[in-house]
């Protein structure tokens, strides 16, 4: 294995890589075998990073193709992909159907903020599902199915934007550190160490509490939720991209390219970076799952999107607390939707990680 030797912990127990991963983020702190401060969570990420550098196996197929082949056979990956596909379709189509266009007006769907059934609502009395309202009404007489459909887009948006923020900022930091370490001599190594010390410190914190600190500063808005959840993902991406780049930098083709006289920045941008992307995609998939759960957690804590008119699953779930004794369904629909979606991303992410990692394949 060509993992960079400075970061690889010699005491690392052989099994730790195989250990759970969906849990890695979310509301948990990932257990790692000990090493110097801040590196335990880091080591799992580093393992993922190494994978990009794994040489193709004996048949000489490319890593990507090999991985895809394996994914196609994995029931986990198939289940995850189906869930994600359905979710994305709903997110894309849902807002177009609420309210439905004229030619679909027979569908019992309405605008997400239309208080169509307000006159049926009394305190302590919310009608359940009916032919007109398949999922029933919420406490203000709005159609729950319409809100769920419309809310899928907001929910997806939160996940995607948060992940993108996490990725962009993380990639910038990690990429800088990685490039510095791989190519930069003493100054580069110093820069790398400093950046990574900070990142490792953040990695030691539970992500939800990190998101929570950021949200407390930003105040309440949808954008604040995205930023908070995204910031909580930054250290993961930073660590990952750096590890990945360093692992690549030790590959033979880099040596070959540099001995052929290709300029260093060109090697980094043209070869190292693209080759480092596979683990990032895995991490992004897992991050999408946790972003959705964390956004719900922030809503519950009162740091979510204050605008309860625009539906978002996490906000809907947090809001339904007040109606639990009247209509528990109001909480169950968004909760189940969140669980299934998060599960979908987790399954796919896990399957991809397994497919990438020869150790997990036995």
């Amino acid at each position: 294995m060509t993992a960079e030797p400075t970061q690889q912990d010699p005491t690392q127990h052989p099994t730790q890589d195989a250990v759970d991963s969906g849990a890695s983020r979310g509301l948990s702190t990932q257990p790692r075998p000990p090493g110097p401060f801040g590196q335990r969570r880091a080591e799992r990420i580093d393992r993922l990073a190494e994978l990009a550098a794994t040489p193709p196996d004996e048949r000489g197929e490319s890593l990507t193709r090999e991985t895809f082949k394996r994914l196609r056979r994995s029931p986990m990956a198939i289940a995850g992909s189906v869930v994600i596909a359905i979710f994305v379709v709903i997110a894309l189509v849902g807002p177009l159907l609420t309210p439905p266009p004229a030619w679909l007006s027979f569908l019992p769907l309405y605008g997400p903020t239309a208080e169509v059934g307000l006159d049926q609502i009394r305190p302590g009395h919310i009608p359940g599902n009916s032919a007109d309202h398949w999922f029933g009404l919420d406490h203000l007489g709005r159609d729950v199915l319409s809100r769920m459909l419309f809310g899928a887009r907001t929910t997806l948006l939160v996940g995607v934007v948060a992940t993108m923020i996490g990725f962009t900022v993380g990639a910038a930091i990690g990429g800088l550190a990685g490039a510095a370490n791989a190519l930069g001599g003493r100054v580069g190594r110093w820069l790398d160490t400093t950046l990574m010390r900070g990142i490792d410190m953040l990695l030691a914190m539970p992500p939800l509490l990190l998101a929570f600190s950021v949200a407390a500063v930003l105040g309440r808005s949808l954008l604040a939720v995205m930023i908070a959840v995204g910031v909580a993902a930054v250290p993961f991406f930073a660590r990952l991209l750096r590890g990945s780049m360093i692992a690549q930098a030790h590959r033979d083709y880099v040596l070959a390219a540099s001995s052929l006289g290709v300029r260093r920045p060109q090697i980094v941008l043209g070869h190292v970076l693209p080759n480092s992307l596979a683990p990032v995609i895995v991490q992004a998939t897992l991050t999408l799952a946790t972003a959705i759960i964390e956004a719900a957690g922030l809503s519950f804590l009162g740091l979510g999107n204050p605008d309860s008119r625009t539906p978002e699953w996490g906000t809907m779930l947090a809001q339904a607390q007040n109606q639990l004794s009247v209509r528990p369904e109001l909480a169950i629909y968004p909760a189940v939707a969140i669980i299934i979606t998060a599960l979908g991303f987790t399954l796919l992410g896990e399957a991809m990680r397994e497919a990438l990692d020869p150790k997990l394949r036995r």
Binding site: R122, H139, L140, P306, S325, V326
Partner: protein
């Protein structure tokens, strides 16, 4: 006037006797197979927050007052379940024609929990204590809010505080042990109604001195309490203080067997803080508490279905949407204000969100109080008319933009679900073509300070009566310029002041009626609703009449042993 008061007191005292008699006979009839009331019972009441201290002198929050009401008595009290003022530690009282000299005839044979005798000296000791509180944290408006409402200031006002006036309280004398004479500088609508608040409870002078009751220090944000306020509250009430467990957030009281009134049936009374409303409801269902205050209207039906004793109170409160005219010049146009009033579907909101018994408000005074006018301009729900008025004022669809503020994560007795009300009203306003910028902020400090500083165009707020007088409502808002409303009308403010100091009650009330009609003509805001807040008890707990001003005492509570 003197005669009517005394007669009222006598009549209500008689009514009280009757009431208890009825209650007893009912119990007798129904309770044959029941084991009946348990005299060893513990009653646990869930409160929405923790008490601030045990000395109600410093209180302005409902939880602290609720606990204090069990330990202390006031000179005048509210008849249980009503807004009528009746005798407490004073059996009767009268004022002279000027409305400035008030004579209280005290109850005989009352002793404090520490054995000190209750008499006129003790009354005057208490009033003088409040009057002479030293400058500093004790005079902070957060600490002695109600004394400052009552008297306006202190013997020795803190320097540099323009909000403190010459005190209205002049002196208290004790011509004999059972007569206390309180002299004011000028008549006030707060007298004697405000004295029902536990902030004016009579404490044992011995205990006050022994435990340094006035020695409060630190900042108003974080006062350091003297031992009196944390361990030794000593009153004359039906319960004595036993312990305050801050880790478990529980205050425990025990029965005062020497209580001057009807001693409590239950032997222990525990107040347990459960800030989360759902948790309170579940604690009651699980039998972990015996009652709590302000159940969410959404739960009323389910609670009653579970056999709980849910008692709605008569509403003496108001929820309103205020216009801050200075914040947005568009609101200075009466037509815009009228348009908004017509745009809001208040009835629809009340039906969907507010509990049974809630009603749409027509004016800034609840109908239960004298001074409410049957004849004021009204503004029915009429979106077309609203659009027309906006067009007349020069605003086409989408041209009028308003910042609408709403608090998050708070419920008030007059506003059980602000988020829902807000969502509905935003839809209503958008319906008539107004562009609404939603601003949602935590109740304290952001929301309250922003709306009271006049930063919102529109906002919600409400009021629950401190004492039963219409002036407690309209006087709170329209007695003078305030940034919250952002308008000046000195001529109007002057007439408010005249009404307030009118010694003759009947005249005063008719003045209030006129003022209420005028306010609705001018439309400084839209009165939304009067909401009955409820109190709820477990099926085996009876005997606590719900008070419109949340002034319940638990000495009459009966816990049936099951």
């Amino acid at each position: 006037m003197r005669v009517t008061r005394r007669a009222a007191a006598a009549a209500t005292a008689a009514a009280m006797l009757l009431l208890t008699a009825c209650a007893e006979s009912e119990r007798g009839d129904g309770g044959d197979d029941d084991a009946g009331a348990d005299t060893n019972a513990t009653l646990v009441f869930g409160t929405e927050g923790e008490i601030k201290s045990l000395d109600p002198t410093w209180a302005s929050d409902g939880v602290t007052m609720r606990v204090a009401r069990q330990i202390f008595d006031t000179l005048v009290m509210l008849e249980p379940g009503t807004v009528n003022i009746v005798g407490g530690l004073a059996e009767s009282w009268e004022s002279d024609e000027t409305g400035t000299v008030w004579t209280f005839h005290l109850r005989e044979g009352v002793t404090f929990h520490d054995g000190t005798e209750f008499n006129a000296e003790a009354v005057c000791f208490n009033f003088d204590r409040w009057h002479n509180l030293p400058p500093g944290v004790a005079q902070n408006p957060d600490m002695t809010y109600y004394w400052q409402v009552f008297s306006g200031g202190f013997a020795n006002n803190e320097e540099g505080r323009d909000d403190l006036r010459e005190p209205n309280y002049v002196s208290c004398e004790a011509p004999d042990p059972l007569t206390a004479v309180i002299t004011l500088d000028h008549p006030s609508a707060t007298m004697p109604g405000l004295l029902v608040l536990p902030c004016f409870a009579i404490h044992s002078p011995t205990a006050l001195q022994e435990y340094d009751a006035d020695a409060v220090s630190g900042e108003a944000d974080a006062p350091e309490w003297p031992p009196y306020a944390t361990e030794h509250p000593t009153g004359t009430g039906p319960f004595k203080f036993e312990s305050w467990d801050q880790a478990a957030q529980e205050v425990t009281l025990v029965r005062n067997d020497d209580f001057w009134g009807e001693p409590a049936t239950i032997s222990r009374l525990v107040f347990r803080a459960i800030p989360d409303e759902n948790a309170r409801r579940q604690a009651l269902s699980a039998g972990e508490i015996h009652g709590y205050d302000f159940p969410s209207p959404a739960d009323w039906e389910a609670l009653e279905a579970d056999g709980m004793n849910l008692e709605p109170r008569d509403p003496v409160n108001l929820l309103y949407v205020a216009f801050t005219q200075e914040s947005n010049p568009a609101l200075e146009d009466l037509r815009v204000r009228q348009a908004i009033a017509h745009a809001l579907d208040r009835q629809g909101m009340v039906d969907a969100v507010m509990p049974e018994g809630a009603e749409v408000a027509t004016q800034f005074t609840p109908p239960l109080l004298d001074g409410w006018s049957p004849d004021v301009p009204t503004y029915d729900y009429d979106p077309d008319r609203a659009r027309q008025l906006l067009a007349d004022a020069g605003y086409e669809e989408g041209e009028l933009e308003l910042d609408f503020y709403s608090p998050t994560d708070v419920t008030r007795p007059y506003m059980p679900n602000p988020q829902a009300i807000f969502d509905l009203f935003v839809s209503d306003l958008e319906e008539v073509g107004i562009v609404v910028n939603q601003v949602q902020e935590p109740w304290t400090p952001e929301y309250l300070s922003h709306v009271q500083n006049g930063e919102a165009d529109l906002h919600f707020l409400g009021w629950t009566a401190d004492y039963p007088d219409a002036y407690n409502f309209i006087g709170t808002w329209f007695a003078g310029y305030s940034p919250q409303w952002g308008f000046r009308d000195d001529e109007f403010f002057e007439r408010m002041a005249e009404a307030e100091s009118e010694p003759d009650q009947a005249t005063r009330y008719s003045l209030y009626e006129q003022l209420n009609a005028e306010i609705m003509e001018f439309l400084p805001g839209v009165p939304i609703s009067h909401t009955p807040p409820a109190i709820v008890f477990a099926p085996n707990v009876t005997g606590v009449p719900a008070s419109p001003l949340a002034d319940e005492r638990f000495n009459t509570a009966q816990v049936a042993s099951s």
